[in-house]
Symmetry: D2
Subunit: 407 residues, 4 copies
Amino acid sequence: MKTLIKLDLDKKPWEQDGLIHNRWHPDLPMVAMVKPDDEFRVECMDWTGGQIGNNDSANDVRDVDLTQVHYLSGPIGVEGAEPGDLMVVDILDVGTLADYQWGFNGLFAKENGGGFLTDHYPEARKSIWDFHGIYTTSRHVPRVKFAGIMHPGLIGCLPSKELLAKWNKREAELIATDPDRVPALALPPNPQSAVMGKLTGDTAKAAAAEAARTVPPRDHGGNCDIKNLTKGSKVYFPVYVKDGGLSMGDLHFSQGDGEITFCGAIEMAGYLDIKVSLIKDGVKKYGISNPIFQPSPLTPTYRDYLIFEGISVDEQGKQHYLDVHVAYRQACLNAIAYLKKFGYSGEQALSILGTAPVEGHISGIVDIPNACATLWLPTEIFDFDLKPNADGPKIYLDGTVDTAKAH
Amino acid sequence: MKTLIKLDLDKKPWEQDGLIHNRWHPDLPMVAMVKPDDEFRVECMDWTGGQIGNNDSANDVRDVDLTQVHYLSGPIGVEGAEPGDLMVVDILDVGTLADYQWGFNGLFAKENGGGFLTDHYPEARKSIWDFHGIYTTSRHVPRVKFAGIMHPGLIGCLPSKELLAKWNKREAELIATDPDRVPALALPPNPQSAVMGKLTGDTAKAAAAEAARTVPPRDHGGNCDIKNLTKGSKVYFPVYVKDGGLSMGDLHFSQGDGEITFCGAIEMAGYLDIKVSLIKDGVKKYGISNPIFQPSPLTPTYRDYLIFEGISVDEQGKQHYLDVHVAYRQACLNAIAYLKKFGYSGEQALSILGTAPVEGHISGIVDIPNACATLWLPTEIFDFDLKPNADGPKIYLDGTVDTAKAH
Amino acid sequence: MKTLIKLDLDKKPWEQDGLIHNRWHPDLPMVAMVKPDDEFRVECMDWTGGQIGNNDSANDVRDVDLTQVHYLSGPIGVEGAEPGDLMVVDILDVGTLADYQWGFNGLFAKENGGGFLTDHYPEARKSIWDFHGIYTTSRHVPRVKFAGIMHPGLIGCLPSKELLAKWNKREAELIATDPDRVPALALPPNPQSAVMGKLTGDTAKAAAAEAARTVPPRDHGGNCDIKNLTKGSKVYFPVYVKDGGLSMGDLHFSQGDGEITFCGAIEMAGYLDIKVSLIKDGVKKYGISNPIFQPSPLTPTYRDYLIFEGISVDEQGKQHYLDVHVAYRQACLNAIAYLKKFGYSGEQALSILGTAPVEGHISGIVDIPNACATLWLPTEIFDFDLKPNADGPKIYLDGTVDTAKAH
Amino acid sequence: MKTLIKLDLDKKPWEQDGLIHNRWHPDLPMVAMVKPDDEFRVECMDWTGGQIGNNDSANDVRDVDLTQVHYLSGPIGVEGAEPGDLMVVDILDVGTLADYQWGFNGLFAKENGGGFLTDHYPEARKSIWDFHGIYTTSRHVPRVKFAGIMHPGLIGCLPSKELLAKWNKREAELIATDPDRVPALALPPNPQSAVMGKLTGDTAKAAAAEAARTVPPRDHGGNCDIKNLTKGSKVYFPVYVKDGGLSMGDLHFSQGDGEITFCGAIEMAGYLDIKVSLIKDGVKKYGISNPIFQPSPLTPTYRDYLIFEGISVDEQGKQHYLDVHVAYRQACLNAIAYLKKFGYSGEQALSILGTAPVEGHISGIVDIPNACATLWLPTEIFDFDLKPNADGPKIYLDGTVDTAKAH
């Protein structure tokens, strides 16, 4: 496998010869061109570009500079790709790097990014996950071990000027409804810390001023954080600019559906082996608005789950109308309450839900006024029996070990 | 297997000797008592109590009386059950009835119930699904066939007075925010068409006036429409009243995650074989707010899916904040647009998404401002190749067959 | 589903209006004719025709009359079927009968049939298995419970005269090599107890004198005892006589690969729902010698197995040449030795291997002189932890309960 | 992951500083010592030590020197291991080497090793398989692609003197029954080409004269060729000598059950990441005769198989008694006959059965006189529809491409 993008992880993202960018903009020059059916390797930094360390303090998570994220490798051009085509991306492999056999999961402080349960767990926290071949364990979250489902959290093609303008407009309108909210409703273009790949000088500055941030998933895919885009899967991306411009990063060793801890999954540096090809005019032929994909035949399999239900009544007892966000939050809180009965701290339980191969299902979405969401927790990842029985739960953790705090 | 509740499907729900009710109220008398570890059969009508016929007109779907639904069998008491216990329900089997080897799927008219995509498909429509052993096909939706995953859409224990009051209060507050909305935001207590089981006379009238409607899933479970509560699964229900009072109904031969057509899955009459037992004081022991469950080792398995992404930008291009409801709607609309390229009508495609073993995942829910939902469509249920290729889609249906319309 | 063959289980096999036969012969008249694409139900007796009772004595297993077996329902003719066609049989459903919610597993006495491990377990033994919806348990084999994978042990089309002659010749030649062996090497035609369906008088007698016994699987399929021919599977059978003549029986609620107890699986009466169609001239088109089939999407799933290896060195330490029979026997004996450490008797362990969803794999068959076979035992069917750990096994059974003996 | 055994693949096996051996003997010195719970990497040559090239001629397969095989890395000692313990080996990962992104599959000539179907396919043939991340394809076998299930074909602990003597005795007795057979019945000790690791001089010579060949699986495991010992599995090996002495090699990218081509699977060089621990006195505690193991949660999943049956009647029509070897051979021949209808040569079909994730099941083994074996061929690995239909098979290969021949 030819390495198309080779990084030096001892250097900063902006010292990588323009192979990395952290904004979406149509003018980003291709860092390499490939032909249809080419196979090649792309190395990626972790999404923060190395801001988080393998240690027992969450200071770095607390102080993370979110204007920097996400650091992506690319864009890569495919000869012959034109707007309206589908770029078919086979994710042939995803792997770790020999000297980076660990990843991190963090809870952002409410003041700095927050997350799905930030009102319940507002402090910065961190857990480090060591890799053991296909498995991972954490010294901060004992008695749980699972096989990874490695995937890029973020992958997609460059937007066109028109698409970029549409993104900026609709997100600005949302922000305008509550511009001072903490955490923010959305992140507008921000030239601070922008890394614009091979663009330099005034062109780079101009692009950075209007370039889209990388946080949300959008029409082109992007930061979908879909755990099933793992090695062996195949994705069909809409092409918006000449040559396509495929970029990728934010690799995860494992993630639960929803990536509810925001920072996020088990975040890591690593590599992707991919193959690209084209379906000419595929967007129109197949009526595509967002990427579609096929899963891999090689994913970790679990059979025995404990499944938690949540409905769209919030923590204060207020009734929401078919709101799956609220319903899934309740399912997650229910799972956390359950795990705490076995001795886990809330933050540890949350870390498990964010990193382990947890499934989040939209179970019912029409039975007014309650949506019903379910969280599927594989019991086989615990080294004790998690299922209910007549004797009640046994406490397996004595509280001496917890996720790392800031101090 | 002893038949604890035996119905006569030639009779109306209210002619079944008080074995059926269609409201939730703590005063509903037990129709039978069982002991822990008992195993028994419960027969159930379809959720409408026989309002929908096996024919080619959607008039009955258009005119359905929703004040009647859902017709439930029970409540069944378990000796020794007390508030705070967990009632453990093993769903040993779910089956069809010899003379009812068919089910229905409907799109309600927007004026009469609507559904998840009612703004796109506002007309009443119906498809009839014939059962062939474990499989089903529809004369209204050609070229698709799948194994059922039979389950009760609705099952749970009677609420206490306090819980009922809480439900009524929070739902009334929601309704008050837009009382004239069509479809309604929620359904308040309504004595019209109430069937109160063994309650009679003034007691029944008084109960019906405050009894909760059966449509939404709530804290006790109820109408969760979770397709995975299939034969072989095990559910832990909170108990709120003496003897528990377990009721069930709304059987489905198959359903997609979300039950997006509202009427709904493949709806059918049938039976449940269940076993009950108790975990004394289990609610507190395990910190339970909503039912939890374990899936079955016996569920239809698919490997090859086409997966559609949706983000929380609506059909008008408006940006919503981490709204999974909107995101899943986009994923569904994307799947429908795709299926139409092969010749299905929009209503047929919608019917497939509502009935087939489609998975709906909450993939990303923290990447502001976009939630990302995915709809997993098993390609193996089609008798043609549904996957994208360079040649573009082939039209396999000529439009001569469609879902049944009202006229 | 139309019931094509309806039995009265209170009557003997030979009192069923000629709907049952227990020998293979081309002259057996069709008991019913169907058209291609017809769907219908066929009821079946258990393979012994009711010789084994739901009780706690193995006397009936010890004294079973094996000249009677297997009692089959059919043959059923398919209009248009001709020799050389493939008869496509969809096994739409397999079910139990309302009044027969139990099955039996037996170890035949070495003097009367024996079995795979008859030198180790020569006594007649019996275990009764109760059905609980999709699950089964046995009062004779505690602490194990599993979902059934119901299937016909025996199904196939009538042989032609030529095929029958070939069978009789090759089996006679084998018997001639050791005619007095106990158990016998093979079973020659035997008119005693022959039930010849709709054939009567001298024709029946003549046919019975040369008809093939039903015990072995042969070119046409027959007694393959393949547990995966379960509800939802599809089989392609070669047709040898006009109209095909499909017969079936020997229903199993569950069985392990190899059916190593001979009597055999969890044997039961029940029904099959099937659909038939034809591929004209399919035998030649596809180069078919034996039936081929496709599995069901609906089979019990297990993830956690304990896998036992066996090699082709026998119990006396003798080396055999790539003999999978010997290797699988060692794998089975290894599993039994292991299960005994937890308190099971050898016969109980054997009963588990014969009935539970155990897989038997031919793992290596070229590494002279040893074949390697593996037996896959799903650990999830036990209600205790079966896996090795540093503390050694715990004894969970105190020996007070065992399989039923003869007396 | 620390690399415990690092090889130089440009050198010969006997030039690797004694890190490699190709015979089993108790006196082989440990090449390294580890502690219980250590995790480490072991590099392995391909089983032939580099005799087979990535080219289009089968000359190397024809001329392979089988006195050399198998080249194993080790033995590795575990501190504290004593005879009677169980050595628990977690196979954390199995991987390819950066410069060796290919493997080979060969049919040995009948005169030089032969194989399972050597009477049908007696010529030397070869196919080269290229790796594409988790997938593999072959330029010699078009239109088939599958995910690998990488595993060591050979792994186990050193035998004791007593065990070695037992092996040599029983195998010699078998050879003596037909000493001139081609291929041989078994392979006696042979000092020619013996590589004895760290043993040197006369000690090495003496050991080589009695050391066991590596071809067969034996009591200690060894060359089991079990495809399910893949990354993520856990094996319990009996310990026979002080420190255990774990050796491993014969890595496969993928293999079908039975490894029916002998040479064999997709053979490759690569690495294993393993973790070792001990269960003291585990052999007795658990009654272990052969290794037992648990499978991985991460294995390629297929749902749609075409399953071929075989019974123990051989190609000449001769009846064998419950002979699974014969039955599985028939199942394989049936599958080959079928595949040829689509245009594959017999050798190509055989190569598919040897390399692809084909399952071989012992389906029935008690129905005298016929064993029934089944071969499960996943249809999803072909890029065309392999299933029978009314139109008959379509020829997808024109015969211009075939496996490589010798010349």
